[in-house]
Symmetry: C2
Subunit: 418 residues, 2 copies
């Protein structure tokens, strides 16, 4: 099927999805989870073909991301069941007003319509994204990576069985068959077919969407996250938070990439930072962090001299750029120039300084005395997430079910005219 044909099918199914009630959608989700487990053999066979074809062309880390196992499939099914257990966002009355003329106006959450997601190789995204979009009352069009296509096709076939068992149209879930760039481009420009496009991938994909898309897009994020250690910081807390934000999972977008240190505490803090992140970790057999130092930091501790690009790089690795700044104002100014507006943090014991930072930093999440690693739908209590938005329109930060909906005004009258 061509991409436009399957988009037309998805569009045709959005009415049925919008009218499905919570009970029917949840029944479909539970049937989808069961079907995944029932079709485990087909899925693992398809995945083995994907792995065989990919071996030698992608890294071992990528191969591991691609690989499925009975445990991983059970985890995917469990993920779908958790989405079924979440409250239905559709139909929620977000605001209600009764006007003096008697009109009752209800601002009501309604589905987007057709949500398309472009993603890369992890097969579990296929079921996660489908479950969220369908629970939000939308039809879902998935365009996954080439390496995982056979796996995604087997997963999608199982999920469609579950939809049909609950009496919902199979056409509400579509996997794009064409895995060349042409299909991404088609999704980006399918005005009238795609109500929301969510690109989940690298900076190149996001940029292409921003430049080429004529359909509504929510950018998900690259994260150049900063931690500013203020002169009034508890330095023990600062060390714990910087290590956690940098090292607990360096490959994710909410990991810290830059540490800004107030000149007032730099002589005390920087030697301890080096001990904690580099020498101390090496001594414990953990991957040490390479510190890339600006001139002022380099005058206090040994390390690699930072190039200017180091303050604009999402390392996704055990590397931390370090810069000495003159207090919160310079920290805020540096972040304004270099942040990707994902998550930025201040460590301080001074409430006034913290408020200045929180109000001055224009990012999706701003932290006072906590790790940037908490920027996550689950950690924020949303129960799930479709990604982390780094744009300002519609959704910012973790996107849960509510952010996958739009709203409409429903107005009841008794013959009012104006």
């Amino acid at each position: 099927m061509t991409t436009m044909e399957l988009l037309a099918q998805a569009r045709g199914a959005k009415g049925a999805m919008a009218l499905a009630d919570s009970e029917q959608k949840n029944r479909a989700l539970l049937a989808m989870a069961d079907a995944l487990e029932r079709r485990q053999g087909d899925i693992l066979a398809a995945n083995a073909q994907d792995l065989e074809a990919a071996r030698g062309t992608i890294s071992e880390v990528m191969l591991d991301r691609l690989a499925l196992s009975p445990q991983r499939i059970a985890g995917m099914a469990q993920g779908i069941r958790e989405v079924a257990a979440l409250p239905d966002p559709v139909g929620k009355v977000l605001a209600r007003v009764e006007r003096p003329n008697g009109l009752v106006i209800e601002k009501t959450a309604v589905p987007m319509g057709v949500i398309a997601i472009i993603y890369e190789s992890r097969p579990n995204v296929t079921s996660d994204a489908a479950a969220l979009a369908l629970k939000a009352g939308s039809a879902c069009v998935l365009r996954g990576g080439k390496e995982a296509h056979r796996s995604a096709a087997a997963i999608t076939a199982a999920l469609k069985e579950g939809l049909a068992e609950a009496g919902l149209p199979r056409e509400a879930l579509q996997l794009v068959e064409d895995t060349t760039r042409a299909s991404s481009r088609e999704l980006m420009t399918a005005a009238g077919y795609v109500d929301l496009l969510i690109p989940r991938g690298g900076a190149g994909l996001i940029r292409a969407c921003v430049e080429q898309a004529t359909v509504p897009v929510i950018e998900t994020g690259t994260g150049i996250c900063h931690i500013y250690v203020d002169g009034a910081a508890d330095l023990d807390m600062a060390l714990d938070i910087v290590e956690n934000a940098k090292c607990s999972r360096p490959s994710v977008c909410n990991a810290a990439e830059v540490c800004l240190v107030d000149r007032a505490c730099a002589p005390a803090f920087l030697p301890r930072l080096k001990e904690r992140l580099a020498d101390g970790r090496a001594a414990k057999g953990e991957p040490p962090v390479e510190l890339r130092l600006d001139l002022a930091a380099a005058a206090l501790i040994p390390g690699t001299p930072a190039g200017e690009a180091d303050f604009d790089t999402e390392f996704l690795d055990y590397i931390l750029a370090v810069k000495v700044v003159d207090g919160v104002e310079e920290a805020v100014a540096h972040i304004a120039r270099h942040s990707t507006h994902h998550s930025d943090c201040i460590i301080t014991g001074d409430e006034g300084t913290a408020r200045r930072f929180l109000a001055g930093v224009d990012s999706a999440a701003v932290y006072w005395n906590a790790s940037t690693r908490f920027t996550d739908g689950g950690e924020f209590g949303l129960g799930c997430e479709m990604g982390i938005s780094t744009q300002k329109l519609h959704a910012r930060g973790p996107m849960g079910l509510q952010e996958l909906c739009t709203y409409q005004y429903r107005i009841r009258g008794t013959g009012q005219i104006r």
Copy 2:
């Protein structure tokens, strides 16, 4: 000044606007209103030049829209004072959660940054749009129509005086000097400078924004609004609502353009519709409405035969397309194909039918037994509006101060790591 230079100035001022508190912003708005009245002579002189240059090149209706008077300037000043009296949207905590780990997460309304507005000739939009954007804590870049440029420049000069009197940067308000299409294009593609672009104008401008913009855009709307008269309608109420929606102000986007009539009541309703809208109005000396009838309607009453295009045209005139449909399902299906998703209405006494319509019609505003003319920020109780969004992302329907803001998550911890 080039457009890029003034965008850079606006961007430089957004920090000061974001940090301004309610008292300071309101003081600035009141000073802006006073300055408009104080500079009335300059503004009227500039407006006289605009009118002189435009005479003969634009219609009398457009000339009237362009013309200012002491009364109109007083009205503009009053509009600014009303914005000052509205609650400040910035800093409002939209949601608050305390997590089991002790993190306190506040989803907080924050300014967009730089809001740019492209509009046409009415000079009062200059002050309305500036007041709303500044109250929402953003810097504001205005790009008005060529015909009104001298007026807009005089108005902007006065408003900047007001800003400065309250200690806010004059640079937070900018009027684009270049009124050729090149400057619109520059605004659409000024990524990193424009946080939100709102085009207010005809379908051509909106289409150009959708196709070319790389900055975030909220489309404002053309309205092909429908009224469906159900078989269970109170026909007297239906006549009142259709006449009001069509005739009270035919040139606006929330006016009705299409009347769908249930086959069950068409023989009773259509002759009365013709009497009310055409003959009755003519007899009272009011502009009669031209009815453009599909075949089934034409079999019941005299009128102009409708061409297919008549069901996809925003007439903005005393013209109404009329079609007979088989009940609510065909009405919903027709609206799905032809609506611009602005405002659509059902007239019925049957609650089940009404619910089917409200849930099935995917428009910004859906009405049951009230005129579509109520789709308006003031009528919805928002106190004001920047326009009517017909898109689904971020804002739908009338955009008030809240919709001109974004949000960020502010997270307070005590050293939490993950």
